[in-house]
């Protein structure tokens, strides 16, 4: 076995290994207290390929990637890098040996420039020991030209969009001369056009002979970009196939061990009266003159690129950022919504886009997370929470939604993404909303949980709730919505009925 530092030196000397596989992992096992995260797992990454990893949340993909990136060390199993057995002791070891991971949560320093972020710890120096800013800029510009990224190296990272930050992360990974790039759901915050750009970059990297490990939940991406796909389930390796040889249904079957017959089961339900009507709503510099109405039992899909203002409209409706002008009426009566509290008093609920930032109380337990929003409305007598009844109702809801948790006292931090999302949905259902605003209700969660959430939304609509659903996923929008509102640069560019909507029309309206 080579030590990581020897291997690094060999690599830096310019020696080129000719092994077919960049990475070969076999028989890997990893246990955490009380749970086997990975058992007898194998994985091989060929040069110049994109290898997708798929599996429900908790299947072990992320654990495996963390082992490859040197964050965890395996309890058992062999690990070969370019044909050589190696044991990585730290993420730095991995990085110096050409393995770079692009995390789901981006790790950039907001107040430093793009160039400084990329070359941190490796800044070019002048003779006098100062940072050579000229060289820093030139190196970055060169790197960007190679990857076809159009960004100013001198701009502060904090001012960039999520998509652009991701480009910076990728450039940073490439700058280490990595041959193994691990991308953990890189498109979860990107719009279709930005995804296209990302894929172009990935193809460039592929042509340079690099291997890309691509974790994703999105089936269409798999077929577009991946050469091979490995599927995991419950910490076990299920199989590897060429992506050309498998179908979407094959993969889903491998992932969940069962067939999902209908992914987007919006049922036809009687549509009732107008519950929410919005007229000429504007928020200066963000969106303008937004008008629409939603009826009881209706699902209004809201499509648009990230940054089009679609989430801002939702925030304004819910009183997080009150509007500058325009009117909102509920059941035909004009209302003023100046805070989330008033919105809730009018029967609104708002599942926010970002589970971690604005959704979960990660340190608190499942029960506290579910009950927090309802306490302004009920279950409280003279200041004291009537915990007995409340706990019972929370538990009932938790089992209806099939939230997988050992008990109600489990910190929500320990739940998988899909279950955290269900906890948040439970929080809002407990308030018995009549108008439910959902912003990316199924982002980053596994196929099984996704289908369950779709079924639930459909059921709520059936019970007469007016639903507004914002989503970046075209199949979700097309499958679930009765009508689709498209927003582009802060303006409504179209309202389509279910039967007239298709992917092309929506994309046209969203990117005119």
């Amino acid at each position: 076995m080579l030590s990581p530092s020897t291997m690094r030196i060999v690599r830096e000397s310019g020696a080129v290994s000719n092994s077919e596989f960049l990475l070969e992992v076999e028989g890997v096992r990893k246990e955490f207290p009380g749970v086997v995260a990975l058992d007898d797992v194998q994985f091989r990454l060929r040069r110049g390929t994109v290898h997708a990893l798929m599996g429900e949340n908790g299947a072990g993909k992320s654990t495996l990637m963390k082992i490859i990136a040197g964050i965890y060390s395996p309890d058992r199993g062999s690990f070969k890098l370019r044909g050589q057995e190696i044991r990585l002791a730290s993420p730095l070891d991995a990085l110096e040996n050409g393995i770079a991971m692009i995390h789901q949560e981006l790790n950039l320093m907001a107040f430093m420039t793009v160039a400084e972020n990329i070359w941190i710890r490796r800044e070019p120096m002048t003779r006098f020991g100062f940072v050579d800013h000229g060289a820093l800029r030139r190196n970055t510009a060169e790197l960007f030209a190679r990857l076809n990224i159009d960004l100013d190296p001198e701009v502060e990272v904090g001012s960039l969009s999520v998509a652009n930050r991701q480009m910076v992360e990728i450039a940073k990974a490439v700058s280490y001369d990595s041959d193994v790039l691990i991308m953990d759901e890189p498109t979860s915050a990107l719009t279709e056009r930005e995804v296209e750009h990302l894929f172009r970059i990935i193809r460039t990297l592929k042509a340079e002979g690099k291997g890309i490990v691509y974790i994703t939940h999105k089936m269409n991406e798999l077929f577009e970009i991946a050469d091979e796909v490995s599927v995991f389930r419950d910490g076990r390796y299920i199989g590897t196939h060429d992506s050309e040889d498998v179908t979407r249904d094959d993969i889903i079957r491998m992932m969940v061990g069962r067939e999902i017959t209908q992914m987007f089961p919006k049922e036809t339900v009687p549509i009732g009266d107008v519950v929410l009507a919005v007229q000429g709503l504007s928020l200066d510099g963000v969106f303008h003159d937004v008008s629409f109405e939603v009826r009881a039992g209706e699902i209004l899909g809201v499509a648009g690129l990230v940054g089009s203002g679609r989430s801002n409209v939702a925030e304004t409706l819910f009183g997080v950022t009150p509007a500058n002008s325009g009117s909102i009426s509920i059941d035909g009566k004009s209302v003023t919504i100046g805070s989330p509290g008033t919105a809730m008093a009018h029967g609104m609920a708002f599942l926010t886009e970002d589970r971690k930032e604005t959704g979960c109380f990660l340190k608190l337990d499942v029960l506290e997370n579910i009950q927090m929003a309802v306490l302004n409305k009920g279950y409280v007598t003279s200041g004291f929470v009537t915990q007995g009844v409340l706990t019972k109702d929370c538990e009932e809801l938790s089992s209806t939604l099939r939230i997988k948790t050992p008990d109600m006292q489990e910190p929500v931090l320990n739940l998988s993404g899909g279950n955290q999302q269900k906890v948040l949905i439970a929080r809002w259902l407990l308030t018995k909303p009549r108008i439910l605003i959902l912003d990316e209700p199924t982002r980053g969660i596994d196929v099984g949980a996704k289908a369950e959430i779709h079924r639930l939304i459909s059921k709520l609509a059936g019970e007469g709730v007016a639903v507004i659903m914002i989503s970046s996923e075209m199949p979700e929008i097309l499958g679930m919505s009765d009508r689709i509102m498209v927003i582009h640069e802060g303006r409504v560019t179209g309202l389509l009925n279910r039967d007239e909507a298709d992917q092309v029309k929506i994309m046209e309206l969203a990117s005119q």
Binding site: F32, P33, G34, V35, E56, N57, G58, A59, R233, D234, V256, G257, R258, F318, V320, S339, P340, G341, A343, M344, F350, T352, E357, T358, G359, C360, F361, L362, K363, L364, E368, Q371, M372, A373, L375, N376, V380, G383, F384, V385, Q387, K404, T405, P406, D407, Q409, E410, P411, L413, N414, L415, S416, G418, N419, R427, D446, G448
Partner: protein, 341 residues
């Protein structure tokens, strides 16, 4: 249906059946450990028992009650993710104001010669109101101007101390009524401390006020979107912390039977230390009053133990510092464990 089974267990959090020990257990162990160390050292170096001495135990609790009263408020502030540096100075100001209304009848050199011999409810209320006002000011500054709690309460710390000194141009206030002194005599401070602790233990656990306090500390954005009025709630929390500091000022001045502008110096740090030792996380969202009470007793045991072993006060401070750092390291460690789980 083996298939269904697989789906049910996928993603299940680890070790579903384990029961969690309340975090207080480990802090209690530290307390017992410290007491036993002093006990053993006592027999070796002083030739007597540390614990088997009721008088000493009484003094430990008595000395720490004032810090304890403050710490109950500080704990709530820290649970919201904030900090209160002003409590020591508020103790001083409240002690001065309360004492000025508590002077003996017909005392000619009184601060307010026309207002002597008042019923003791007046000075007590005056002291509480001063604390409340300071707390509301802290809370409003934080809620409405958006300045960090550290800065807002640092400003109040300096201002309140200045006011305490300016109140009588630095002169102490003496000749207080016996009835007022009675508030701080005997075991009253302990009773007040434990009552306050019990009230807020219940408030944090069983009331909406408590739930919202944790929610704000755990994730202020999520709390806002859950319909919680953040500004109003923060003002409440800081107001309570101020009120308790005011109460501590009343107890202090009654116990010493005078008001002195230097009262309560550095008390805020002892209160924060007790809170942190008690397991409250400085990042907010986590903490309990029971832990803080144990934290307060630990500080008391250390102080008393060192005096008992006739070790210089300087060394006491060194050890106290080390204990605070140790408590924060333990907190960091706990948080990392939680993330890994």
């Amino acid at each position: 249906m083996a298939v269904r089974e697989t789906v049910e267990t996928a993603g299940r959090a680890p070790a579903g059946t384990k029961r969690r020990l309340p975090p207080e257990v480990s802090i209690l162990c530290v307390l017992v450990g410290l007491a036993l160390i002093f006990e053993v050292l006592g027999w070796i170096f002083v030739g007597q028992s540390f614990l088997m001495n009721l008088e000493r135990l009484r003094i430990i609790i008595l000395q720490m009650s004032v810090i304890g009263i403050i710490a109950v408020g500080v704990t709530q502030v820290i649970i919201t993710g904030g900090i209160d540096l002003s409590s020591g100075s508020v103790v001083g100001l409240s002690a001065m104001v309360a004492a000025s209304f508590a002077q003996e009848a017909d005392y000619t050199k009184a601060v307010y010669p026309a207002l002597t011999g008042l019923p003791i409810i007046i000075p007590v209320m005056a002291g509480l109101l001063v604390g409340l006002a300071a707390g509301v000011t802290n809370g409003s500054l934080i809620a409405f101007t958006g300045i960090p709690p550290f800065i807002a309460t640092l400003g109040m710390m300096v201002t309140a101390r200045g006011l305490a000194k300016a109140y009588t141009r630095g002169q102490p206030i003496g000749v207080l009524q016996d009835a007022y002194a009675a508030v701080g005599s005997g075991l009253w401070p302990v009773v007040i401390f434990l009552t306050v602790a019990a009230i807020f233990f219940i408030a944090l656990r069983y009331t909406r006020y408590g739930k919202f306090t944790y929610a704000i500390g755990a994730n202020v954005q999520a709390a806002r979107v859950s319909g919680i009025n953040i500004s109003r709630h923060l003002i409440k929390v800081y107001a309570i912390a101020g009120l308790l500091a005011g109460l501590a000022g009343v107890v202090t001045s009654a116990r010493v039977v005078s008001g002195q502008p230097g009262m309560g110096v550095m008390y805020e740090l002892d209160a924060i230390a007790a809170t942190v030792i008690g397991g409250t996380s400085l990042t907010g969202g986590v903490g309990r009053i029971t832990g803080t009470v144990i934290g307060v007793i630990i500080l008391g045991v250390v102080t008393s133990g060192f005096t008992f072993l006739r070790i210089d006060a300087y060394y006491q401070e060194i050890v106290k510092g080390a204990i605070i750092i140790g408590a924060v390291i333990a907190d960091q460690y706990r948080q990392r464990q939680r993330k890994k789980a």
